[in-house]
């Protein structure tokens, strides 16, 4: 019969035998996501299936809210321990890619040939190379309040900048305004693109916006803001305020990207297929604000990290994300399936999501410069001053020109 001592000896021996094997095969990668904690079950499912297919691999999932993610990632970079797989929104990735924080995914792109929408995929190219792949995709569109349009005698969505502003002014009243736009991450830029205003020269080395035409556009918007055509929140709010204002039902149009719908639908009891109109912004211009997945250059297991990205974006897993969130993923096959299903299930959401894959050749506000965030911080406060009537448009543009030029000169 085995004594207590024999059992202990056996356990120690078994542990000693097993440990080297584990140490040799155990690999851990970290997956950093951007405010998607609502999809916890889905993401844990992806991790579980990946770990099952790759024995000895462990994935640590970290989720940070939008304002927290960049500081977190930067401190991890400084510490030399960046998360292996990173999810970013908008143009944040550019600075990371340009400064060598991301792995060049170009050599791997043949492995996912034909998987992604090419216009959206092109959004993550810098210096001729691919740095990220789509996780989920969005771009701006125009939502409009049909009853307010009818009341103001407007036939349908505007097809030019002037029609948009004039229509907005028609809807202005004591408690109503005509137009609202989101303003972060250049989401307002389609208004300028429609007027042939360019922020930078094609080589991205000099400013191009300080022109009489830009001043006219800014003056027009400032005037409309003053008379209530354009809601002031367009230039002061971020996400909750403008979407909340549109949800209240007394704003004629909202220029925002597709996720805004789910926010204002949750707050606005008036929102349904009969009352909410969906259209492209004038000129079909739109600013993308998509989420991408990339691999940190400092990853100790880059191949594994890339394999995980392929796993997350494959047809099966991307479909689950698309269904759960009712969002397009940039995976062409998945998006087509989702749109086909929504056409009968939820025509309003279908109409909204359809705008996201139309006119993808007219994406603006996505300049491929690593100075994107600095240019934004230099440009926006001056533009905001002019739009809110604090400064004359010409002076604000001159001040913005000086500040943006200073940032461009830092390269």
């Amino acid at each position: 019969m085995l004594g207590r001592r024999d059992v202990l000896k056996g356990a120690v021996a078994a542990t000693a035998l097993a440990t080297p094997a584990l140490a040799q095969s155990h690999k851990k990668i970290a997956f950093l996501t951007w405010n998607i904690i609502d999809q916890e079950n889905l993401i844990r499912g992806w991790i579980k299936s990946f770990e099952a297919a790759n024995p000895g691999v462990e994935i640590e999932w970290l989720d940070k809210k939008g304002p927290e993610l960049p500081p977190f990632y930067q401190t991890q970079l400084a510490a030399g321990t960046p998360p292996d797989v990173i999810n970013t929104q908008g143009g944040l990735w550019l600075e990371y890619a340009a400064n060598g924080a991301l792995l060049d995914l170009t050599p791997h792109m043949s492995e996912v040939q034909g998987r992604f929408n090419k216009d959206y995929l092109a959004n993550w190219t810098y210096d001729g190379r691919n740095w990220m792949v789509p996780f989920y995709i969005t771009k701006t569109l125009l939502f409009y309040n049909k009853p307010m349009f009818r009341k103001a005698g407007l036939d349908g969505p505007p097809n030019s900048f002037e029609a948009l502003v004039a229509g907005a002014e028609k809807m202005a009243g004591a408690d109503t305004t005509g137009f609202l736009t989101l303003n972060f991450d250049w989401l307002y830029w389609p208004l300028f693109a429609e007027n042939d205003v360019h922020l930078l020269t094609p080589d991205l080395k000099k400013t191009a916006f300080n022109t009489p035409r830009t001043a006219e556009v800014v003056e027009r918007l400032a005037k409309a803001t003053e008379n209530g055509g354009v809601n002031q929140i367009s230039w002061t709010g971020r996400w909750v305020e403008p979407n909340g204002a549109f949800a209240a039902g007394n704003v004629g149009m909202l220029h925002a990207h597709s996720p805004a719908y789910f926010f204002f639908k949750g707050q606005g009891s008036w929102v349904n297929g009969d009352t909410l109109g969906v259209a492209q912004a004038p000129g079909y211009w739109a600013t993308p604000n998509s989420h991408g997945l990339g691999v940190s250059k400092g990853s100790k297991n880059p191949e594994l990290a890339w394999a995980f990205i392929k796993h997350v974006t494959d047809n099966q897993n991307a479909m689950r994300l698309a269904e759960n969130r009712r969002i397009l993923t940039g995976n062409t096959e998945v998006d087509q399936k989702l749109l086909a299903r929504l056409k009968t299930e939820d025509p309003l959401v279908h109409a909204i999501l359809l705008t996201q894959v139309e006119h993808t050749d007219k994406l603006v506000g996505n300049w491929r410069t690593p100075l994107d965030s600095r240019i934004k911080d230099a440009f926006w406060p001056e533009l905001q001053s002019a739009l809110l009537g604090r400064k004359p448009a010409k002076q604000a543009l001159a001040d913005a020109d000086r500040r943006v030029s200073r940032e461009l000169a830092r390269v």
């Binding site: 924080a101 002061t236 971020r238 209240a248 965030s373 406060p381 001053s385 809110l388 200073r406």
Partner: protein, 320 residues
């Protein structure tokens, strides 16, 4: 008579071999060593979290550095850039100074309330509790509450002003270049006034009553009693409030970040919020370090001025 111990004492003083030096045996030295041992954990923490980062900031301010690039010495370039070309820095500095200037207003208000609740006013204890209640609230909660109170669409303040007929259209207080800073300052004063009141009340209650009685007997009028007795004896409490107000001005990050994020434009930008934006928004940690060093220098000067204004010995330990 010859002292037999004398030679060994001389040897000990000289620290000759085999005998520990006399200073080690001294009671005072042992006491100091004991005190140092007790202080060491705190001093180590202070050094690690305050002195080293400050020193590192100074080093960083002379370099070009981001987490993605190796450091490069650039001399005074960062200071030149900040002081001569960065108008947002000057805006943030002006706002910080305005924030500091609001502290005396809060202190005067707190003194008034402290005098009231220190009097024979009925229900003084209740008022004291009500005024103090704002202070223990989390700043983030205060910021969110006030942000909604100032809200253009459903805010209490706009509703009250419209109901009373003072305004026709709602005002976007926090989105307005003229209103934003005063509104955030009002919130700050509201939160901190309770703390000032308690500090000043404690100071008022420490003033010996016989001084007032003697002055009253001598026929000294109330305003003179306040100017000649209350204010001079409240000096340490006032100094404490002033220093806390000063520090508060440099650290009011959460209130501004939540309420306005420094906007509209940079209308409510403080040095501390700008430093954060430079570092984590624009990945310019070198510029952020430079602004931090400038802020630290400013803080040193202002603290020295406050101490000087308070008689030059504020914070000194009084011995019987």
């Amino acid at each position: 008579m010859v002292d037999a111990a004398a030679p060994s004492l001389v040897r000990a003083e000289r620290g000759e071999a085999g005998t520990p030096p006399a200073w080690i045996n001294r009671r005072g030295t042992r006491r100091v060593a004991l005190v140092v041992c007790f202080l060491l954990p705190s001093l180590a923490t202070f050094a690690l979290y305050r002195v080293v980062p400050l020193f590192w900031n100074v080093v960083l301010s002379f370099q070009a550095w981001s987490p993605m690039k190796p450091a490069r010495f650039v001399g005074w370039d960062n200071y030149e850039d900040l002081l001569f070309y960065d108008d947002v820095f000057w805006r943030a500095l002006t706002n910080t100074l305005l924030w500091i200037a609001a502290a005396p207003v809060a202190i005067v208000l707190a003194l008034g309330i402290a005098l009231l609740v220190d009097s024979d006013l009925r229900g003084a204890g209740v008022y004291r509790t009500i005024v103090f209640l704002s202070y223990p609230l989390m700043t983030v909660a205060v910021a969110i509450i006030w942000r909604w109170m100032y809200d253009e669409r459903g805010g209490l303040i706009n509703w009250a002003l419209r109901s009373a007929g003072f305004i026709e259209k709602p005002i976007a207080f926090l989105g307005n270049f003229d209103w934003a800073l005063p509104c955030v300052l009002i919130t700050d004063v509201w939160q901190v006034i309770g703390f000032y009141m308690i500090v000043l009340l404690t100071g008022l209650q420490a003033i010996p009553p016989h001084l007032y009685e003697a002055a009253r007997v001598d026929g000294v009028p109330a305003y003179a009693r306040f100017l000649r007795i209350t204010l001079p004896l409240l000096r340490p409490s006032l100094f404490l409030c002033a220093v806390i107000g000063l520090l508060n001005s440099f650290t009011s990050f959460d209130l501004v970040y939540i309420m306005t994020n420094g906007g509209p434009g940079h209308a409510t930008e403080l040095l501390i919020t700008y430093i954060y934006k430079l570092g984590f928004g624009q990945t310019r940690f070198d510029a952020a370090a430079t602004a931090t060093v400038v802020q630290f220098a400013l803080l040193l000067v202002l603290t020295w001025l406050a101490n000087h204004g308070a008689g030059g010995n504020a914070g000194a330990v009084e011995r019987d």
